[in-house]
Symmetry: C2
């Protein structure tokens, strides 16, 4: 029998938990809620279902904490939380529920009448829709107001007396509630992603005192915990790692131990950043960013194949209509959100979810198109952030890279448009491509320039990488861009791992896998050689380990566990194993392993709802589907 | 020095408290949240202000319960709740705040830097606007998450041993937390608006047990409280009346004691129903209904002259854009909401608030206009409630009374439209009036018929009353409608006090004040003669007192304290004293007392920001403005 679960209006659970997530950042005692428009969920809904009972039964309806409501059975009203007897016959049941502080959710407990699939929900606006649920909320005692984390206890791997206090070191970074035993007053605890940070009681990001009743500190990113002024004999600590249980389905082992270690550290990094949603990092920002999430989709496809976190993230990022501001305020993140829907569909072939999102895709695209200047190029409005990357673009007039994203987003719109509506999007795309060619392509430089209005003809990598990835350039021009941009040292290097992802993918597409392998070993291998147990937001191989923690002008500002640093998983699976879905969802897939580069290797990756187990042995490939 | 107050984004306080209000109905243990689309407030805002300090000062910022945020002073971040030192100089202060469960509000405590007027607030969408506040939230320890009621203790005026228990009677109806002292287990308490209801422990609306710590029951409407199974010696009770302190500015005393009593009972009834918002009733529904509120505006103009409750109610009713459903789901209530803005403006001449509402008026009117059929008449959609009144209308095709409301709402739109935009609304109105004349006017019957599609030519009073009130009919036709409809017994009588308000006003407009006075004394006097201490939702003089409590098929379903029953206040002030604003806001007003009917009378009414004190003595009027 299908398990009962908490039910809510589709999408509202995600909007509620997205706010909880985006408001949860705390740094040096300051709570720092994300700085974009945030609005809530439906506060009043009704769940309905008709049962045909061949015998008497009874059921009880529970509401989420703080909810007000009642159950209507035929003509009679019953309070929530009471057992309701329901005689044989045909019964229409309505559960009315309202909640201000939390998504209004219900749980129906009973032998026959229960909150399994089959309930409809309405919001007093649109036609009823099937109620939503997820696998993490099946316990009537753990309602959706708080995320139900899975817990795992980590004992410290080292306990040291340092600077008159006690330093606890854990084997890796965790998102944990530190649990302490002490005598007297609850002690001060300082946490760190690095040993240096935990010991720097002045400048570390997190300090706290354990709750006297539970002994626990709030859930935070930590690898090191320091208790100043207490000796190791007087105190005990362990970490209760709290995570969302998403099974990892990928494995990778080859002859190169460094590459193996890169894969496993990338996987650990990625899973720490994958909770209710794809986050950028676990210490900072703990926010749901559209650009970061876009890249996470590609890693997740090959690491867990869990579509649910992708759906939650896509819903959370997009928010409610009317669409008046961009995803995270960033124009390019709005466009990347549309590309994300395409990536999701390629991974899972889940047309239902794309249909659920379609009106949201439309209203977001309409917002973008409403911001075009006279050539048809999208530009930022006051308060819009035109980001693309931390780089010195020539930002005079419309920025070229944004137009590349818009062209690709229009391709996605055309792909998913209802029959008869594709043409509009294709026409828009073709007109835009012509204008890009006319305004941004610089034949002499053999590259797309940032700006056509300034006359400076400045070339950066970004727009040119997008031109390769999104087929704005044709085959011949792509090859030319390799020379004029990708392998041209006169064009400033990409400095962020965020855009390195796009650059490395472009190199892979063009077949430069040896070069990419070299880069992976240098950059990610470089972090390992500096002692990384998770991959960092940014890495400068020229700096010593103790100089690695500073960023944004903050001595410990750099996140040492950042999702966008997990891209080797994707690159290895997609280009080195050569595995990709051919039909959306991957029921049909392609496998073209570069056995010249991976001479001997064992790997597993999810694909098409199965897990594929590969073995490459001296250039011979065997595959098993499980 | 101006007092500091809690600050929020304009309108959001009202949306939050409107949900609290509309979700607060409880009946026989069932919570019954209002059955219309309910959505929230902005969850993330930032307050900003620049100070030029000629000396050092310090300040502390508090957030509403459950909020996350920080204070930015120049480049530095500070936690909420900490004293922040601010040296001499020019400082830009930003308070960032997010809250899911409550309107994100702040309080700034300090000598110079404080949350008085001058702060701007932004929502990361639109340009910053001045922050809002109200006079009930000036205490840093009472944040806007809960309404700060004023309390007044009422001792029971009678304590009786009845049916083996104790019955407490209070001098009048209250919205009170009953406070008890008892021995042993907390006793069951049953409440009633009537003695019969409180003693009917099976069927009464409210039963509860006092909180063991505070001794208090939840705030509820009550005049009678019964404690079954406990004798008067073993228990004590008093009522803590909890109300929003809105000073009554009106008085009325004439030679007719019954009329005096009608005025004072109407005033008490109205004030009980006027809290954070205008409610329909205090026992039931405790919801904010647009039609009821429209009428309350007219009573309130003459009773308290408090514009703040009107603003709160208008904001609460209208809710957020996009406008996809009608006010309370009712088409006519949407139109009455637009008329309400006009009534508000007539009372207070407050153009700023109308400007604040203008885009909301527009989007609501656009929704209504989007629902027109081929003749240009507005019709209900699936899920819309076309109400007008509880009456037997011929509901075939568009309903005439709705078109009358639409015509008047278009007049209001034209009145308030920005310069150059009036014409559109006037054109719409004129076209509609022509169609009304062509389709609904029945020359033979000398009346507007309900439906022009059915061929039944059914006449009810409603559309014809609106035609008189909204000048759809000209002077001659109005006189004709008096004969053919108002004084025509063949046209079914109005049965609800709701529509009696419109009918009596139409009679007043046409000069039938003796008739209206007779009606007031018969209907409202009739309730008094049956022992009413507050006026009822409905009254049938033919029924005995003990038969008065039933309504909607429920033995105690009728509300015995209902705002729409307070209309004598308006009728007496507006038509018998003849007091009305001539310029919006009433700086210039007209006074035409019917000294033939009120031979000797003392009265006070608010007008134009002052209180006018009248004395009529043997046909001679004296007026004092204070």
């Amino acid at each position: 029998m299908e398990q009962a679960a908490w039910l809510w209006y589709p999408g509202d659970f995600e909007l509620y938990h997205a706010m909880k997530q985006n408001f949860s950042r705390v740094e040096r005692g300051c709570q720092w809620p994300a700085f974009w428009k945030s609005e809530g969920f439906r506060n009043r809904v009704a769940f309905r279902r008709v049962y045909h009972l061949d015998r008497e039964t009874s059921f009880t309806v529970f509401g989420v904490k703080g909810a007000a409501g009642y159950v209507q059975l035929g003509e009679e009203k019953h309070p929530l939380g009471t057992a309701i007897r329901c005689p044989q016959g045909t019964w229409r049941i309505s559960v009315h529920i309202a909640c201000i502080g939390c998504v209004p959710a219900i749980y129906v407990q009973g032998e026959i009448i229960r909150s399994d699939r089959g309930w409809m929900v309405e919001d007093f606006d649109r036609d009823p829709v099937p109620a939503a649920q997820n696998r993490y909320f099946t316990d009537p005692n753990r309602d959706p107001s708080e995320w139900a984390f899975t817990e795992r206890v980590y004992e410290p791997c080292a306990v040291e007396a340092v600077n008159g206090g006690t330093l606890y070191t854990f084997e890796t970074e965790l998102t944990a509630a530190l649990e302490l035993q002490w005598q007297g007053e609850p002690p001060l605890v300082t946490l760190g992603e690095s040993r240096a940070e935990a010991l720097d009681t002045e400048n570390c990001y997190f300090h706290c005192r354990p709750d006297p009743e539970t002994g626990r500190c709030p859930r935070q990113a930590l690898r090191f915990a320091f208790v100043p002024g207490r000796s190791p004999e007087t105190i005990k600590a362990r970490a209760i790692h709290q995570y969302v249980d998403i099974p990892v389905k990928a494995e990778f082992r080859c002859e190169d131990e460094e590459l193996n270690r890169i894969f496993s550290v990338a996987a650990h990094t990625f899973m720490l950043c994958s909770g209710a949603f794809f986050l950028d990092g676990v210490k900072r920002d703990k926010w749901i960013w559209g650009g970061d999430a876009y890249q996470s989709l590609f890693v997740n496809r090959y690491l867990t194949g869990d579509r649910e976190i992708e759906k939650r993230t896509l819903i959370a990022l997009r928010g409610n209509d009317p669409m008046t501001t961009h995803v995270n305020t960033i124009l390019d993140y709005s466009l990347l959100w549309i590309l994300s829907v395409d990536a999701y569909y390629e991974s899972y072939g889940d047309r239902d979810f794309v249909d659920f999102l379609w009106t949201k895709m439309e209203s977001l695209m309409e917002l973008c198109l409403s911001q075009r200047e006279e050539h048809g190029f999208v530009v930022g409005r006051k308060r819009d952030w035109v980001f693309i990357d931390w780089a010195d673009f020539d930002r005079d007039g419309p920025l070229c890279a944004e137009q590349m994203l818009l062209a690709e987003a229009l391709r996605v719109m055309a792909d998913f448009a209802p029959e008869g509506e594709e043409d509009r999007w294709l026409r828009e795309r073709n007109a835009l491509l012509e204008q890009i060619e006319a305004c941004y392509w610089d034949e002499e430089k053999g590259a797309y320039v940032d700006s056509f209005t300034s006359g400076r003809r400045n070339v950066t990598r970004h727009a040119n990488i997008f031109a390769i990835l999104f087929d704005v350039a044709d085959g011949e021009r792509k090859r030319r861009l390799t020379r004029t941009v990708l392998f041209n040292d006169a064009v400033p290097a990409i400095t962020t791992p965020y855009f390195r992802f796009f650059e490395l993918e472009a190199l892979c597409r063009l077949g430069y896998l040896e070069k990419v392998l070299e880069e992976i070993k240098a950059y990610w291998g470089g972090m390992l050689r500096q002692g990384a147990v998770t991959f960092w937001e940014q890495f400068d191989p020229a700096k010593a380990p103790e100089e690695q923690y500073e960023m944004y002008g903050d001595p410990y500002g750099k996140s040492l566990c950042h999702a966008w640093a997990a891209s080797p998983i994707y690159l290895l699976a997609r280009y080195f194993l050569g595995l990709r879905p051919v039909t959306p969802g991957g029921a049909e897939y392609e496998l073209r392993p570069r056995t010249d580069l991976l001479k001997s290797c064992k790997a597993s990756f999810p694909m098409g709802g199965k897990v594929l187990h590969f073995a490459v042995d001296n250039g011979i490939l065997t595959v098993e589907e499980l």
